[in-house]
Symmetry: C2
Subunit: 163 residues, 2 copies
């Protein structure tokens, strides 16, 4: 559990925690890998969401997924990039969150994912929550806890619970 006090501090700037879909680069599942390679390398991202034509979230594609298709026994070969599509190599085993999910779930899932796709109830891609935005909120929360001058001893060993 996370105490209500900490949760309130963490969610003070809740609206800035989700990076909205329109600000997140994406690729279509039907795109050839060559196109995805260009998007990823030019945008400077290492992993981006994959959408279908109806803006439904269908997976994640990393630059590593793409370049692994270029590794041949005798060296690097880029011909595969025009022969395979994003759907052939994307990762579909991905943790996602729904709009309005619990902070606690977010924090746990972000241990194993640098960002989490946020979907509505129809699996429409709404944006991402990143470790970066959560860390900003953590910094603010720790500082607020200190600014409010919570007595240290009480915070760690409240009366009756002291070791």
């Amino acid at each position: 559990m996370i105490s209500r006090a900490v949760e309130e501090l963490m969610l003070e700037n809740k609206s800035s925690m989700i990076i909205p879909a329109e600000n997140v680069a994406n690729v279509m599942s039907g795109n050839p890998l060559e196109h995805a390679f260009l998007v990823l390398s030019k945008a400077g991202y290492s992993k981006i969401p994959v959408l279908d034509k109806g803006d439904h979230f269908v997976g994640l594609l990393s630059l590593n997924d793409v370049v692994n298709k270029m590794l041949e026994i005798d060296g690097i070969d880029t011909t595969n990039l025009s022969e395979f599509s994003v759907a052939d190599v994307m990762d579909t085993d991905v943790a996602i969150v729904r709009e309005g999910c619990e902070l606690e779930d977010l924090l746990h899932l972000l241990v194993d994912a640098p960002f989490l796709p946020v979907l509505d109830e129809h699996n429409i891609f709404k944006g991402i929550v990143t470790r970066r935005e959560i860390l900003k909120a953590v910094n603010r929360t720790f500082h607020e806890l200190d600014k409010k001058r919570v007595p240290t001893e009480k915070l760690v060993f409240p009366a009756g619970l002291a070791k």
Copy 2:
């Protein structure tokens, strides 16, 4: 400032916060990009530390840095990978931390970097601190704060400071 109480909780598993150098893939600054490309794609990392022959940290290399050397006006060309070295494309403008640095500095620097190289006083690479390990500590800290049943009202509005 971060209160001593929160800092103590965050640093309870301090030893596991740094991933030691021997468990972190790296490349040498003199390596051809082709070698670095293979290391990055096979290891599945998007960014790794670059060391010199004396194990000094000299920069970071991302898979994006490498593949950007493959982008030519008329398409993708891999010949540059054997002509350029890691030192030619690595990022040397990198935030680093020293062994024994302050938690507060770590938390701030990790807002803009997915991980931080940890160096000793001679710039020898000792390991990395990642957002992932910090988030684990944050989860533990939030839960301990709750487990110790700090009264919510007191935590946010201690006596004398209530709005």
